[in-house]
């Protein structure tokens, strides 16, 4: 059985790098990985997503509807945007960060009574699909690591805690060090550790995890 991970976020959050590190760590661990990545326009701020599948019987680069084991959303609204890919009762690992697109803000100033969608609104909708939702304050953890741009690595730390995630930690750390800019290796490894630690307090109350360090 393959492990199907659907990753999504907003252009500029480092989803492509995250995918590359996960894939590289899996390759080093001797696992078969296949992805379907969607980007093309290089502008920031658009929606981006990646289908990532680990396992010998993962043939298609795209996940079927209702067949993802996990959604990893680097931005809160994006978790809901692709919910059709998640298994009923699957896991949602999502950022507490919400980035309001300009079109939403423009509605608020032009249409009386409109309000921003909140993380709570998103989570309450998601609960109709699955109870297994972990909300991570990745921006805070990234700042704690010393580099605000390491939200993606925080999520990798969370993912690494899962029992079902087959890449070995030493390889993940190696892949991070090889993929990120040299000056930010320390910060990224710290972000990874903070993410892993955070998972043991949140995500791991919902699903089986490797034992805490």
């Amino acid at each position: 059985m393959s492990l199907n991970i659907f990753l999504c976020g907003v252009g500029g959050q480092g989803l492509v790098l995250l995918t590359s590190v996960i894939g590289d760590a899996c390759a080093k661990s001797g696992k078969k990985v296949i992805t379907g990545e969607m980007y093309g326009l290089s502008q920031r701020s658009g929606t981006v997503f990646v289908h990532l599948r680990i396992g010998e019987d993962a043939f298609s680069p795209l996940i079927r509807y209702g067949d993802a084991d996990i959604i990893i959303a680097l931005e809160a609204i994006e978790a809901l945007r692709y919910i059709e890919y998640l298994k009923k009762d699957g896991i949602i690992l999502m950022n507490k960060r919400i980035m309001h697109p300009p079109i939403e803000t423009s509605k608020i100033i032009t249409e009386k009574g409109t309000k921003y969608l909140t993380v709570e609104d998103v989570v309450s909708k998601l609960r109709n699909w699955t109870p297994n939702i972990a909300v991570i304050d990745a921006l805070k953890l990234a700042r704690d690591s010393g580099n605000v741009n390491t939200e993606n690595t925080v999520f990798l730390g969370c993912l690494s805690a899962l029992e079902a995630f087959p890449a070995e930690e030493s390889y993940i750390r190696e892949s991070i060090a090889e993929a990120v800019p040299k000056k930010t290796v320390e910060q990224n490894l710290k972000a990874f550790d903070l993410g892993k630690k955070n998972a043991h307090d949140s995500l791991c109350t919902l699903v089986a995890c490797k034992s805490a360090p």
């Binding site: 252009g11 995918t19 043939f59 697109p101 969608l117």
Partner: protein, 633 residues
């Protein structure tokens, strides 16, 4: 991108994007000359070659357009060097004039041309089926389904190209180019780069009239030889099942078929013919595959390219076989496929009850009814936003004076103009077409025509249309949005950049000098960020009774950030001074900048992480409440 695996001498398995695997394959095959114009979904082929350039001695050009790229490769190939180019389907249209001729003239050194189609038009203006280039130009074509296969096929394509003295097309689709997977790295058998002596190689690569007629006959002979060769190609293979049903497929659809057979418990039951050489097709192999089958499913995206061949072959071989594909309504010619579509199609043919995914989509739709769209938009700090703010103001003033307008847009980041909330374009076709269309419109409509092109698009395809405008005295306004790079595809260099491939120093080609040399009489150059001044310049240009050209210049914000980081300069954002802000929301209404939102006091707020520090909004705030922050977090 992890470059180390692309350039390593180590033989190991690596996780790679297909576009990187294409580069790796070409490097293993000792490619000597590469040339590209960027375009999704192939841009990473260019980017990877550019990044790797410091490690090898191949020659690389980022050319003005795809036709020039193919010609660079043809030149190298005539001299016996291996060459490769990659382009998106619509780029292949531009290069096709040369492509068709190369079918006649032939080549010497292996010439490989990657053509990437974009079913679903994810990042293109049309869903084009580039497979038809191959039979039309009598040029062989290989179609990979995965990164591993892409690498293998690129290597093989060089051999085929040299053996048959013909370019070889590697045809991909977005879901192949942007698929990553495990790739087995092989030997890098590279030789040093050395110029050759033409007098030792001299032969003619010409075609016209009687020469063309003779070469046509040779092309037909060549195709016959290739057909025979492809009957035994390792890229075509059959997996036999024990039922009377079989699937014929190619490209990424093959992977969806494998997934579908697994999901439907049909592995070992349904036969599969996977085609990798899709021109010329191995007709004998197709014949023997369908000979004893009662049902054949053809799974391919876009046109019924394989399906029509299967019908033709079945007519002689097995007239009673039932063929399921586009004609039967099992699959659509529209949009890309995915595993859901292929599972459903195969289940219906095989008479298997399979739970429809429609209810899942329906449930999801209900949950996300309220979420806002996240259209691509101008980045924070994008100079195009400032240009369009000024243009909007100028147009409004002109409208009040009684001048109406037609806006002809083009291909580039400024295409975002058509997405809400900043939506206004009367037309947007293909590279450079805004200027061509403006010529026609200037004869046909009473309103003032405004056309816009970027720097890269200007060099690529707009110059002939501008010469046409000057020569014929056509009256319209052209904005040239010069942001120094080909921004939309990832800030590649172009003749407006001080760099060439591999970030080597290049000579900038002056857009204003081109315009002057052509004979443009009204020519203004402005700084895109200087909105107040630009409103006046645009108004004058719109009032000018003739052809007026305004170059709006300021480097792409993402490229600028990259340069700042390289120079060690900080990016200093702005913030809203809440004590001064009277909430007219002019900043929000005018700019739609993604760095902005509204705080709990209903006041505009600028994200310190997202703001690029361009300063444009600060200059236009009527209460001067937008101030530069101390340092960026």
């Amino acid at each position: 991108m992890v470059l180390k695996d692309v350039i390593t001498n180590e033989k190991k398995s690596a996780f790679m994007l297909c576009n990187e695997a294409i580069v790796r394959g070409a490097l293993e095959a000792d490619v000597k000359v590469v040339a590209f114009y960027p375009g999704a979904p192939t841009s990473e082929v260019l980017d990877t070659f550019s990044e790797a350039l410091g490690n090898f001695d191949y020659q690389m050009e980022i050319t003005t357009n795809e036709k020039v790229a193919l010609e660079v490769c043809a030149g190298a190939s005539f001299a016996g060097l291996r060459s490769l180019t990659a382009m998106k389907s619509v780029g292949a249209n531009v290069a096709s004039d040369t492509l068709f001729v190369l079918g006649y003239t032939g080549v010497r050194g292996g010439l490989v041309l990657v053509i990437a189609d974009d079913p679903h038009a994810h990042s293109s203006q049309s869903e084009e089926d580039g497979r038809f280039f191959a039979p039309n130009a009598y040029i062989p074509m290989l179609e990979p389904s995965s990164p591993q296969e892409a690498k293998d096929m690129v290597k093989k394509a060089f051999e085929i190209s040299e053996r048959h003295r013909v370019p070889v097309i590697i045809r991909t689709v977005t879901r192949v180019n942007h698929q990553s997977g495990i790739v087995q790295l092989e030997n890098m058998e590279r030789t040093g780069f050395k110029k050759v002596k033409w007098k030792e190689l001299r032969e003619e690569f010409t075609t016209l009239g009687e020469v063309a007629r003779q070469k046509k006959l040779k092309m037909l002979e060549r195709t016959e030889k290739l057909t025979k060769e492809f009957e035994n190609s390792e890229f075509n293979f059959v997996t036999r099942g024990d039922s009377d049903a079989g699937v014929i497929t190619s490209s990424v659809s093959y992977l969806y078929v494998l997934e579908a057979l697994k999901v439907l418990n049909l592995q070992g039951k349904v036969s599969v013919l996977k085609l990798g050489t899709t021109y010329p097709l191995p007709k004998g192999m197709i014949r023997s595959f369908i000979k004893d089958l009662k049902r054949v499913i053809v799974a391919e995206e876009l046109s019924p390219y394989l399906e029509k061949e299967v019908y033709a072959i079945a007519k002689d071989t097995n007239p009673s076989v039932a063929i399921f594909g586009k004609n039967s309504g099992t699959f659509s010619e529209a949009w890309e496929y995915n595993p859901n579509i292929v599972v459903k199609g195969i289940a219906s043919v095989m008479g298997i009850e399979y739970p429809d995914y429609a209810p899942i989509i329906q449930d999801a739709k209900q949950l996300k009814a309220l979420i806002p769209d996240r259209y691509p938009t101008f980045c924070a700090g994008c100079p195009h936003r400032a240009t369009f703010v000024a243009l909007n103001q100028a147009l409004r003033i002109q409208v009040a004076k009684g001048q109406e307008h037609y806006f002809a847009n083009d291909i580039g980041c400024y295409s975002m103009w058509v997405f809400p909330p900043i939506s206004r374009s009367d037309s947007s076709l293909c590279m450079g077409a805004s200027v061509g269309v403006a010529n026609g419109l200037s004869h046909a409509i009473e309103e003032r025509v405004v056309a816009a092109v970027g720097d890269s698009t200007f060099y690529h395809a707009a110059i002939p249309a501008l010469i046409d405008a000057v020569h014929n005295g056509n009256k319209f306004t052209l904005l040239i949005l010069d942001n120094s790079v080909t921004a939309m595809t990832g800030q590649q260099s172009n003749p407006s950049t001080e760099f060439t491939a591999g970030w080597k120093q290049g000579k900038k080609v002056s857009i204003e000098n081109i315009c002057k040399a052509i004979g443009v009489e009204f020519l203004e150059i402005v700084d895109s960020y200087d909105v107040k001044n630009n409103v006046e310049v645009f108004r004058k240009a719109l009032d000018y009774d003739g052809l007026s050209v305004v170059i709006s210049r300021r480097e792409c914000a993402l490229y600028g950030d990259r340069n700042k980081r390289r120079r060690g300069e900080p990016i200093v954002p702005f913030h809203v001074d809440k004590s001064l802000c009277k909430r007219p929301y002019m900043c929000l209404r005018t700019f739609y900048c993604p760095a902005y939102d509204i705080d709990e006091d209903q006041q505009p707020r600028i994200s310190q992480d997202l703001c690029d520090g361009c300063s444009v909004c600060s200059k236009l705030c009527p209460f001067q409440s937008i101030k530069r922050s101390e340092v960026k977090a």
